[in-house]
């Protein structure tokens, strides 16, 4: 069995695991702020880049939640560089491997303070 290990602060690790390493029966709703500010752009990007809106919203909400500066978020959405769509595809990749069983388990371990 193979294992990939990340280490980071609890706030980010826990949220990251919940957002990207669980199969979600119920869609993760982005914050009101993210939806209000970026909703239209994300919908447009989802159509043009052929990625699922829920993944785009999840990525944006994750970045917003963990302190990405507003200017960076604006740039990410407006630049249309493809980076945001790629991140949404990454989220989709993880979901696919969760569903097909390639990712067997996800554990959060306390390394101590």
């Amino acid at each position: 069995m193979n294992r990939i290990s990340f280490k980071g602060s609890s706030a980010v690790i826990v949220d990251f695991a919940e957002r990207f390493l669980e199969t979600h029966v119920i869609r993760i709703e982005p914050s009101e702020e993210v939806r209000e500010i970026y909703g239209r752009e994300l919908e447009s990007l989802a159509r043009s880049a052929h990625v699922e809106l829920r993944h785009l919203e999840n990525v944006m909400d994750f970045l917003h939640e963990h302190g990405a500066p507003r200017a960076e978020l604006d740039e990410l959405v407006e630049a249309r560089s493809g980076e945001l769509a790629d991140l949404a595809r990454d989220a989709a990749v993880l979901e696919r491997y969760l569903i097909d069983g390639t990712i067997l388990d996800v554990m959060i371990l306390d390394d101590g303070a």
């Binding site: 390493l21 500066p69 554990m107 306390d110 101590g112 303070a113």
Partner: protein
């Protein structure tokens, strides 16, 4: 804007100010936006005062009563706030860089966006969690708590504070993703790449950033 008579009253000294406050219990001092030249303000009663945007860099506010004061956007850089009562104060966006907050009561204080770079928070009633202080977190809407020793401190009871939205951590955690065996190389690369890119987007803000390794389970379990 500030009330000039209130600023004048400050020049009479802390003792006179505190007497004045006791004689005018219903009065809310308005010092907003003012550049207060008086630096010796130890023990002063500024509870509930409107101090939005006040400039008090380097001031001695040790033991001051600032309970419920509105210090939004205040410049308190390198101010001595040791032992001050800042419970319920609004310090949103305040510059507390290098301020001495040791022993201060920050219970319920709003600290969103406050700059606490190199602030000394040791022993203060701040948050019910460890703070990882060995890194600088200082950006929009973020909260930075830094200490030269790089130590994590534990604070008590700040459940109602807005600190929750900042980038502090109770502790370091490890995320283990177990893959099937055998697993196609393509899947490993895709998963590792996805994890790296997604996590990497916040890694600069996270502490100390991701440590990624891949290998058979059982390796590196010593933590």
């Amino acid at each position: 804007m500030s009330d000039l008579s209130h600023i004048e009253a400050l020049r009479d000294g802390v003792a006179a100010w505190n007497v004045w406050r006791r004689m005018n219990p219903g009065l809310i001092p308005d010092l907003s936006g003012s550049n207060i030249k008086v630096r010796g303000l130890s023990g002063i009663d500024l509870s509930g005062a409107d101090m939005r945007g006040v400039m008090l860099a380097g001031a001695d506010l040790s033991g001051a009563l600032l309970r419920g004061a509105d210090l939004t956007g205040a410049d308190l850089m390198e101010a001595d706030l040791s032992g001050a009562d800042l419970s319920g104060a609004d310090l949103t966006g305040a510059n507390l860089m290098g301020a001495d907050l040791s022993g201060a009561d920050l219970t319920g204080a709003g600290l969103d966006g406050a700059i606490l770079y190199r602030a000394d928070l040791e022993g203060s009633e701040c948050v019910s969690r460890h703070l990882w202080l060995n890194q600088i977190i200082d950006f929009a809407n973020g909260l930075g708590c830094v200490d030269g020793e790089g130590e994590a401190f534990v604070f008590d009871d700040m459940e109602d504070s807005t600190v929750e939205s900042s980038f502090m951590s109770t502790r370091m955690l490890r995320l283990e993703v177990e893959l099937s065996d055998p697993v196609p190389a393509k899947a490993i690369y895709e998963i590792l790449g996805a994890l790296n890119r997604l996590y990497g987007m916040v890694a600069d803000q996270d502490l100390p950033g991701p440590i990624i390794r891949i290998g058979p389970s059982g390796e590196g379990d010593g933590g």
